[in-house]
Every structure is written in C-alpha cells, then in structure tokens.
C-alpha cells in the first residue's frame, strides 16, 4: 500500500517523526510495519508511534548515518510516496488486561515508539514509562506522556539532577512483581533489564520484548 508523506519533523539531530497519510490503515498499537521507498526493493520495520485513533500515521525513527533506509525516509519531502506493508507483530497489549492491570514500559532510544502508541491509544492505561537515552535532546514528545508516569534516564549528561541508564534506575527501584513489563529497543538493554527484572522477582511470563537491533 502506498502512503503519502505529510511531514518529517525533527526531534533531535538524530531522530525524527515521519508522518504519513492514514489511508484507512488499521493497526493494533505496538504492531510494526515495513516502510521503504517505491522501486528501491528495500524496506525496514518500524513500530507504530501514533495512536490507533489518530488521523495520520506516525513513526519515530532514528537516522542511522550509514544506514540504507532511515536516511532516505528522513530526506522524503511532503507528497513523496512510501510503500507500507503490515501491520504485524505481537508486541501488543492483551485487551483483557488493558483496564485492570499495571504495566511498566522500558525503552531505549526510539524503542519508546510503541509505548507512545499505547499511551495515546489507551489513555486509561495504568503504566509507568522508563526511557533510556544518551542526551537530553533525544527526549521525544514528552508532553504526550503524563509527567508523573515518565522517567527519563539520560546516560551521557545530567537531567534534572540525575544521570544514568535505565538499569541504574531499576536497581534503585523496588519492582512490582504483579505488573506486566514490556521491553523495547536495543538487545543489550533488553538483555540487562530482563536479568534485573528476574532478580527482582518478576516472572518470565510477565516480560515481553521487542528488539530493534
């Protein structure tokens, strides 16, 4: 399916939000799609960033400098067409649990994309979001998150008096073993966080993961 680019909005020097026309495309928050430029024969997976009820589709993308697809999508101008396949993937919330369970979403970098989709799609969700980034400028649309629920962990500079990774934050925090934990981003973060959760008494059956790279 072809979707026109509506805008490319810079979040930081390395991260941007690609907005596409919706074209009636339906998805479950947390699912991903494959995006590529028509005729190139190349595409990559991107998690949905916008909410299920939004009038457009948005994706939060890190531009990998030597990358094949992410720089090309950033260079797309409004009106450019993008090939979109999907949606698919099972990194979604169990509909039975959305209103009666607690969730903890842990992300590194653009791994916050599916969690942004969750909170905008399900405003009633009882959740905490822990976001690991390198620099404060990498924070994405923080006004879309309830500030009491969002913890930003910046590893390369202090932010509001604190500096460190998500793992440092988790080590200092007592974990709720009844919550469901969703982990998204790079493999190293997911690997380390999983161990901390298990040590904190969280069952493997309550941990869900989506690795980007």
């Amino acid at each position: 399916m072809r979707h026109k680019v509506l805008s490319v909005r810079d979040i930081s020097p390395t991260t941007y939000v690609l907005r596409l026309e919706r074209n009636g495309f339906e998805f479950t928050p947390g699912q991903c799609v494959n995006l590529g430029l028509p005729g190139t024969g190349v595409n990559r997976e991107y998690s949905t960033y916008s909410g299920a009820g939004s009038e457009f589709l948005e994706f939060l993308i890190k531009e990998v400098p030597e990358g094949t697809v992410s720089p090309k999508l950033r260079a797309a101008t409004p009106g450019t067409e993008v090939d979109l396949h999907g949606p698919y993937g099972s990194f979604v919330l169990d509909p039975q649990k959305i209103t009666n369970s607690k969730f903890v979403f842990i992300a590194s970098g653009t791994g916050i994309a599916p969690f942004h989709s969750f909170v905008t799609s399900y405003p009633e969700l009882d959740c905490q979001i822990i976001h690991g980034i390198r620099h404060a400028v990498d924070r994405c649309d923080i006004e879309d998150f309830d500030s009491d629920r969002l913890v930003t962990c910046v590893s390369r500079e202090p932010l509001e008096g604190r500096q460190g990774r998500v793992t440092d934050y988790l080590k200092e925090t007592s974990l709720e073993t009844e919550s469901f934990y969703y982990l998204c981003g790079n493999q190293a973060m997911i690997y380390d966080v999983y161990d901390l959760l298990r040590q904190g008494g969280v069952s493997g059956d309550k941990i869900f993961t989506e690795a980007f790279f």
Partner: protein, 502 residues
C-alpha cells in the same frame, strides 16, 4: 554426567528417512540431505567445553538404522538424552521416549524444539519425558541446566532456571516461566566441528554449490523479521538475538583455513542486513577469505538487500542466497505477512543476478485460501523468473500448518484443517480445505519443477554457470546432477497423493 544430543533415524512406510530441513521443518526423503542442527551443535560444544561427556548422536547423518542407533545409545549409558521435536514426528518421539525410559530408567529425557515448546504439557502427558524446554536457546538453557542437575539432587522440586517445564511426578509439572528471549550469542561457542563430525554433513546438501560445505554458527537466532505467519520464528515470545560480525568472521577464517571448506552457508532464519552485512563482506575481503576458493551463502528475505550491500557481497565471494518467495499474488503475500510486493521481488532478483549471485527461491502452494487464479499467477511468475534467468534454482513445498504457528492456529480457527493426526503433517500432502481440488496444486508443482528440464532454462543455466568466476565443469556437473536428483525426489514426494480424495 553423560549427555547425548540425539537424532534418531526415522523411516516412514515408504522407506523414506525424516530429515530436518529449512526452518527446522521435517520432511521425508528417500535419499536425504543432511542439515547440521546448529544450535544443538553449539549446546553440545558448550557442554563438552564445560567438561561433560557429550555424545553427538545423529543417527541419520551417521547412516545408522534405527535398531543399531538405539542399541548404541543404550550401550553408551547416557544420563541425559536431548531430542528435537516437530509436529510430524511427535508420535514417533513419544513412543521412542517410553522405549528409551524402559531401557534406561534413570536417564533424563529432555525435549527441545518448536512443537513441544508450544505444548509442553502435551508431551509430558503423552510420554515419560522429564523436561521440556520452552526456550529456543537450547545451548544457553542446557549450559545452565546440566550443571544444576549435576549439583542438585532435588532439581525437580526447585529449579531457578527459566523456560522449563519439569516433571515432578506422573501428573505434577513444574513450570519455571517464560524464557529469556535475548541471549548474548557471542558467549555460546562456535560449533565444535570435530565433535559433530562435520564431514557427515559436508556433501549432501542442496544449499552447497561446492563441497565440502558446512553451516556457520548462525549469526542471528530465529529471525530478525519473524512475522511470516507460517514460520516457526514467529511467536509472541520470540524475538531475535545477534552474534557479532567479528566473532563470526573468526569462525569463517578457521573453517576456510583449518578445515578447507569450500562453501559456508549460514542458516539463520534471515542473515544480517544493512550495516552488519556490509561490515561482514568487508571483513571477508580484508582477511583475504574471498580469494580462497570458498563460496558463502545465507537465507534472506526480499526487501533486506540494497545495491551497495549486494555488490560488496558478490565481491566477497558470496553466491547462494536462499529466499522464501512463497507466492506471487499480493493477497497471499499480505496474508502471510511477507512484508514485500512482487515489485520488490523482481527488483531484488535483478540486483542479485546482476552481481552474479545465485538466488534459490522457495515457493509454497496449497494455502487454504489459494484460488485457481492465484495459483496460476504463482506458476506463471516463477516460470518467467526462471526463464529470464533472475532466479537460478527453486524448491516448491506444500504449505503445511506446523508447530502451532499463527498459520496453524488460523487454520484451526477457520475450521479448514482436515486432520489432527500429527503424522499427517509431514508436508507430503495437503491437509487443509482449499477452494479448488488438491490435485490442481499437485499439478502446479509438477508444472513448476518442469522448468528444470526445459531446454530454454537449461541453456540459460549453463550460460550463467559458465560465467561464474570459476569455470569448474566438474562442479557444474556435480551440482547439476544433485539438483536434478533433488527435483525428481521433490516431484515424487509432493505429488504422490495426486488422485487421492481431498
């Protein structure tokens, strides 16, 4: 402890042997090819490195018959035997486990694999197996489990290792919860080639253009994409884990320089793409491995390879690319979650052949929705791609729902499954209700394979192969002969149910 990692010879009533094929499917063939089970090989190597007595016990690759294999295993007196399960051989395994438990009552039987990991209780109910691995990381789990059992006599009651279902008593099972999805693959050792007797697998394998060939220790476990509905690498609890480029390059260097292999195939669901693929190709070139008369190959998906990467791979002596095309109509591609269109398929194939790569297509027929028009479109497209010379070889299979994949679940929910007898899931016949008679799908298979013998295709093939950088006519002949034999076997296997009632 003495641990056997075992693959029993399994022979069906046609006298065909079960062989593990791509994506851990099991199919029966008269003259099987032998695929090294890489993750199990890593598990065996790791346990051996830890000082355990390990038996690499592949009765198929070691050309044993069942009785001899069973006798040898019992005589070795294992403390633990590890099997790999998939749907079409489950009933066989349940019987075998009980037979083994009667012969060696104290031996701990561990069941791994994508069938039992999805239905652990079923296997514990149906046979006397002791432990089911819910994890696909067999090496990481066994590396923790074996020492734990070694040191704790009460391991059945208290086991802190996640991803297991353990028999405590006849009907009392301990479930240790979901497993850790991502493991640091660099910690798991390269497959110990001597332990697994690599030469047993070095010749009969359709993924080798030259022999002796071998499988690399996979760079990606399961699949980075992991969305195709029929595939085992698609599950709510699966993501992928990746090995570092440098570690893998070190292994390639050893395989080429110390073992003299002439083809290395990486059987990861889908190999590296983008930056890692380019880094790998550059590494091969920097180490001079592209000049050592060894070809490299891997599985990929349409949509992952761009021109810069393909050009580098070709320079690094990559040749064989195995790609699941599955079908050529957009509806089927979308229903299977393939994530590309026919336009991408054509663009990718043109690119691969432009740089002299050797794309091998896998196609399936017999989806429960597949209409005559869709089927014909696939047949026509595949034939055209072969005649145009943008695809080199192909393999057609019957789409069979397996191991509780999303396609399997969908077939159950849609009420289209014609059988629930696991023996019928051996990919030799269609087992779903379809909009047109089953015979039309069998005829389509014959039609597609017919390309292999068409003078136009043969002419193109010879022209292409003789342009390959090494004009090795002996290789051409051997590969060609093996390919024709495989085509004949496939046509026989996949069409022998033609004419039987659907």
């Amino acid at each position: 402890m003495k641990i056997a990692i075992s693959y029993p010879p399994i022979v069906n009533d046609q006298g065909q042997k079960a062989m593990v094929s791509q994506n851990r499917n099991v199919q029966f063939f008269k003259k099987p090819t032998y695929l090294l089970p890489v993750v199990h090989g890593q598990a065996a190597s790791w346990l051996k490195n830890l000082g355990y007595d390990v038996l690499w016990d592949d009765g198929n690759a070691q050309l044993k018959d069942f009785d001899q294999w069973f006798r040898d295993l019992v005589a070795w007196r294992p403390d633990m035997v590890v099997f790999e399960s998939t749907t079409p051989v489950m009933k066989f395994y349940w019987k075998l486990v009980d037979q083994l438990k009667s012969a060696c009552p104290n031996c701990i039987v561990v069941m791994t694999g994508y069938h039992s990991m999805r239905r652990p209780e079923e296997t514990l109910d149906r046979c006397q197996a002791d432990i089911i691995l819910r994890s696909n990381h067999i090496d990481f789990v066994l590396r923790k489990l074996v020492p734990y059992i070694d040191e704790h006599s009460n391991w059945r009651d208290h086991c802190p290792i996640e991803g297991l279902v353990i028999r405590r008593d006849e009907k009392d099972y301990l479930d240790t919860g979901n497993f850790k999805q991502i493991e640091p693959l660099d910690l798991s050792p390269d497959v110990d080639r001597d332990l697994v007797r690599w030469k047993d697998y070095a010749y009969e394998n359709g993924n080798y253009l030259q022999v002796p060939g071998t499988y690399a220790t996979s760079v990606i476990r399961d699949c980075m994409f992991g969305k195709c509905t029929f595939c085992r690498y698609n599950g709510p609890d699966l993501t992928f884990s990746m090995r570092s480029v440098e570690k893998s390059l070190d292994e390639y260097q050893r395989l080429v320089e110390d073992y003299g292999v002439r083809e290395i195939f990486d059987d990861s669901g889908v190999w590296y793409r983008g930056a890692e693929a380019r880094q790998f190709a550059k590494g091969i070139i920097d180490r001079g491995l592209h000049k050592k008369d060894c070809y490299f190959g891997f599985n990929t998906r349409f949509g992952y390879m761009d021109e810069e990467t393909v050009a580098l791979l070709a320079k690094a002596n990559f040749r064989f690319l195995l790609i699941g095309m599955e079908a050529s109509d957009e509806e089927t591609l979308a229903r299977l979650n393939k994530g590309y269109s026919l336009e991408d398929v054509e663009a990718n194939l043109k690119l691969f052949t432009k740089y002299g790569l050797f794309p091998h297509l896998t196609i399936m027929v017999g989806y429960y929705w597949q209409t005559r028009k869709q089927l014909q479109q696939t047949v026509d497209t595949v034939k055209r791609l072969m005649f145009e010379g943008v695809a080199r070889t192909l393999q057609v299979t019957l789409c069979t729902p397996l191991d509780f994949t999303p396609y399997h679940q969908e077939c159950s929910e849609e009420g289209v499954l014609l059988t629930d007898d696991y023996d019928d899931f051996d990919m030799s016949k269609l087992i779903v209700k379809t909009p047109i008679p089953h015979d039309e799908y069998y005829a389509a298979i014959r039609d597609i394979y017919g390309v292999a013998f068409h003078p136009k295709f043969v002419g193109r093939q010879v022209q292409f192969l003789s342009r390959m950088r090494k004009s090795d006519w002996q290789f051409l002949f051997t590969y060609g002969t093996r390919a024709v034999r495989r085509v004949n076997q496939h046509v026989f296997n996949l069409t022998r149910h033609e004419g039987s009632p659907a």
